[in-house]
Amino acid sequence: MKAKIYVTLKPSVLDPQGKAIHHSVELLGFEQIQDIRQGKYFEIALDSQMSETEAQETAEKIARNVLANPVIEDYRVEIV
């Protein structure tokens, strides 16, 4: 079983890195790009004995306490 965790800046928080990427993309000649925001992606391999609820809870806890900074970031967990 695997947990996929996406960590992104909250929508209102300025994303300087995303802005820099956006700028580079524009310089390469891509048009009609309105905005780019970047984030982090994690894959966590979980013990296959775990129930899906347990896996979801564990992954959320890891995301909240370690991977994301809840003051400025949101996270999303997918169990597959």
């Binding site: 209102s12 802005k19 400025i72």
Partner: protein
């Protein structure tokens, strides 16, 4: 016109108004305000913007002097350094944001103070930071304190290094009262030609108003206002109260602003700091006695669907408001576009005194600006110092048994203690050399930065001592100003002006307000004595978490002038055989020392109960400083260092340690002071002392100058060997290899942080 829902008592309370304050709003407006207007009043009348609890007292500070070009009231103070050059500088707190999100909080603190400086037309050439944290070994909060420290240091390095300003000095201090209550005071200094200083004034009726810099988002909108009826749950989630800075964008903003200033197209300029667009427009208009009309529809926005309320209160970083000379706005827009920044005309200066804000063709706010600033609440809050007096003399430090009787061990304990040990781990993360003007690196008594195109250099230091201030706020403030001046003197700088940041707990508590008022009196007395006026500053109240306040902590940023950069001196001993001497006198000042805490194990509360701080005689202090400057001026001494935390023994040890281009040296010291205990002589923290070293052939001239100035002066030993050995009244008191002492001192902090 303003189709807002009616203002309910709940909304008034959520915006932080008292009943009387809201009555005053009604009286000024002559009607019920719209929600947008309520928001404007709320931020302008917040403690942060209006100084409502402190204004009564701040007026007592001395702010004028020969060199003062711009006194407090502008974005930064400006002081003349000769030949038409000036320095602009200020210190400001970013305590609360740094607690919520240490990295971004500290980073945007640096960004904000840099903007304050370049708004004046000055190019920033140096930054410093005064940082205070809870103990790293605290059982309950140690890990949290350590992560706050790491985050703040990382954030400062991130912003300062990327922007390209050297972080040249500052201080890091630990005490329990800063657990969950860190203090982050950021200082910046820039240089500017006297005829190129800019002001935050909206002058010239008909002049266009431009918004420049980053786009506006929903960052940092005042927490208290979040719960207004308009905002649903989802919207709350979208609104962080923390701002995120972009140092690369600020670098562009700096270059664009300076270029636009040189073009002559700018009439007035102000940065959008706390309370963003609101405070910048209100303050610019109020200073010039004009009115403003703004159309928020034109403001560059990062997010969709922002309301007038949100745009006015947003604290997005890296933005400025510019008033251009009529007809030259296009030139400004072109300059900013060249630097890849937004610049948009969003309004104009009008006659009268009203700020009118339009959004989507609708009038959203119509406020008399002079009333918002002039009639802001001003409180003379109750003060009570009886608690301080009642506590005094409960505890006798003589009754305490030291953790070690061995004075060598005691010195080692002190050198490794958090407040004395080297802060190398911190400042090595900062770029302190960028711009290649840094003459004295971090870790010294004061930092020194050369001023290119002149032979001058500027010295600067940032000091605070919450412990002394908590025990006796007035004497503590005097000691603090004296130490800042002495630190400048120790590198060869003549103190010229001061900026201050006053960090206190809640002003609604009478004992806090009393200590605030006493602090102001102390600063006033000392600044007058040293002829160093206050040119800028900031007050930070409500530094409390879980009902516990911080120690009263004024931070003093003192700037000194070195007329000839060849006369800069450092604190380390230079050569074997040099004589070591002390200017000043050692007195019975062990009571509030680091020794009392580290070796005798007294808590800060016990020191406060004991009620004793070192006594300072400002006349003696001035004599010592003048003598030292005169010795430096005549090229007579090779090192100078100020004994502070840990006293004479620690100061001598620090002068023995290796430094850039110098290896470690030992010293043989013999101290004679019959009336005092050995501990007091070694570790007492008497002010007004400077340890100097010089080659033996200079002794005669030095003694003569000391005598001429009537300054206490005593040779106490010589630079020799590889050990530090100290005899007191003929008896061996301690002896230890310098290498061992230095190792303890240098690695103690990093060992604690990297365990």
């Amino acid at each position: 016109m303003m189709n807002n829902s009616a203002i309910t008592p709940e909304m008034v309370a959520q915006h932080g108004f008292t009943t009387e304050e809201y009555e005053k709003v009604l009286q000024i407006m002559g009607r019920e305000p719209s929600l947008t207007e309520l928001g404007i009043f709320s931020v302008m009348w917040s403690e942060h913007c209006s100084y409502k609890s402190s204004r009564v007292h701040l007026g007592r500070l001395p702010t004028s002097g020969e060199r003062v070009i711009v006194p407090p009231g502008e974005n930064a103070g400006v002081v003349d350094i000769g030949d038409d050059w000036c320095v602009a500088f200020k210190v400001e707190s970013h305590n609360h944001p740094s607690f919520i999100e240490p990295f971004q909080g500290a980073a945007t603190g640096v960004g904000g103070i840099l903007r304050d400086v370049f708004t004046m037309g000055a190019r920033p050439i140096a930054a410093m930071n005064s940082l205070r944290f809870g103990p790293l070994n605290d059982e309950k909060h140690g890990n949290r304190n350590s992560s706050i420290l790491k985050g703040c240091v990382d954030g400062i390095a991130h912003y300062g290094n990327a922007f390209g300003v050297p972080t040249v000095g500052g201080e890091v201090f630990f005490d329990e009262s800063y657990s969950l209550n860190p203090l982050v005071n950021a200082f910046a200094l820039g240089i500017v030609r006297k005829d190129q200083i800019f002001f935050g004034k909206a002058t010239g009726v008909g002049n266009p108003v431009l918004y420049v810099g980053a786009k506006t988002g929903r960052d940092g909108i005042h927490g208290a206002t979040m719960a207004s009826a308009e905002f649903d749950e989802e919207a709350l989630e979208k609104r962080p109260t923390v701002q995120v800075g972009d140092p690369f964008l600020e670098k562009l903003l700096l270059e664009a602003c300076l270029e636009a200033m040189r073009s002559g197209a700018i009439a007035g300029i102000q940065d959008m700091g706390a309370a963003g667009l609101t405070s910048s427009s209100v303050e610019m208009a109020a200073r010039a006695g004009t009115g403003l009309e703004l159309d928020l529809t034109l403001v560059p926005q990062r997010e969709t669907g922002m309301t007038a309320y949100e745009m006015l209160l947003s604290e997005s970083q890296e933005r400025m408001l510019i008033v251009a000379h009529k007809g030259r706005e296009k030139q400004i827009v072109e300059i900013f576009n060249k630097w890849d920044l937004d610049a948009v005309v969003v309004g104009k200066v009008v006659e009268g005194n009203r700020l009118k804000v339009f959004h989507n063709g609708e009038l959203m706010a119509d406020i008399p600006v002079d009333a918002v600033t002039d009639e802001a609440p001003k409180y003379n809050r109750p003060m009570d110092g009886s608690k301080f007096k009642a506590q005094a003399a409960k505890i006798k430090i003589e009754d305490r048994k030291p953790k070690t009787e061995d004075r060598g061990e005691a010195l080692k304990m002190l050198l490794a203690s958090p407040n004395i040990s080297s802060k190398r781990w911190v400042y090595q993360q900062y770029d302190h050399m960028v711009r290649t003007n840094t003459a004295i690196l971090p870790g010294a008594d004061a930092a020194v930065v050369r001023v290119k195109e002149t032979r001058r250099a500027i010295s600067m230091c940032l000091d605070g001592n919450g412990k002394f201030s908590a025990i006796n706020p007035k004497e503590g403030a005097k000691l603090l100003v004296a130490e800042s001046a002495r630190n400048n003197v120790c590198v060869g700088g003549k103190p010229i002006a001061v900026t201050n940041c006053l960090n206190f707990a809640s002003p609604e508590r009478p004992e806090v307000m009393w200590s605030f008022s006493e602090t102001i009196d102390g600063i006033k007395e000392a600044c007058e004595a040293f002829e160093t006026p206050i040119v800028s500053g900031n007050v930070s109240f409500y530094n409390e978490t879980e009902g516990r306040g911080i120690l009263p902590t004024p931070t003093i940023g003192m700037v000194g002038l070195i007329e000839d950069a060849r006369k800069i001196i450092t604190s380390g001993f230079k050569a074997e055989g040099d004589l070591i001497a002390v200017l000043g006198e050692t007195k019975n000042d062990l009571a509030a020392s680091e020794y009392a805490q580290v070796v005798l194990g007294l808590t800060t509360d016990e020191l406060i109960a004991n009620g004793e701080v070192p006594r300072i005689d400002l006349n003696l202090e001035k004599t010592v400083q003048q003598t030292c400057l005169s010795l430096i001026d005549n090229f007579l001494i090779d090192s100078a260092h100020d004994p502070s935390e840990g006293g004479l023994a620690v100061a001598i040890a620090e002068s023995c340690f290796s430094s850039l281009n110098h290896k470690a040296l030992g010293a043989e010291i013999e101290l004679k002071e019959a009336a005092l205990s050995a501990e007091t002589i070694l570790f007492g923290e008497s002010p007004s002392r400077i340890v100097v070293s010089f080659s033996a052939d200079k002794l005669e001239r030095i003694s003569a100058i000391a005598e001429e100035n009537n300054c206490p002066f005593a040779v106490i030993g010589k630079v020799s060997g590889e050990n530090l050995s100290i005899k007191i009244n003929g008896e061996a008191a301690l002896s230890a290899p310098v290498a061992e002492l230095e190792n303890l001192w240098a690695t103690s902090l990093e060992n604690k942080l990297e365990k």
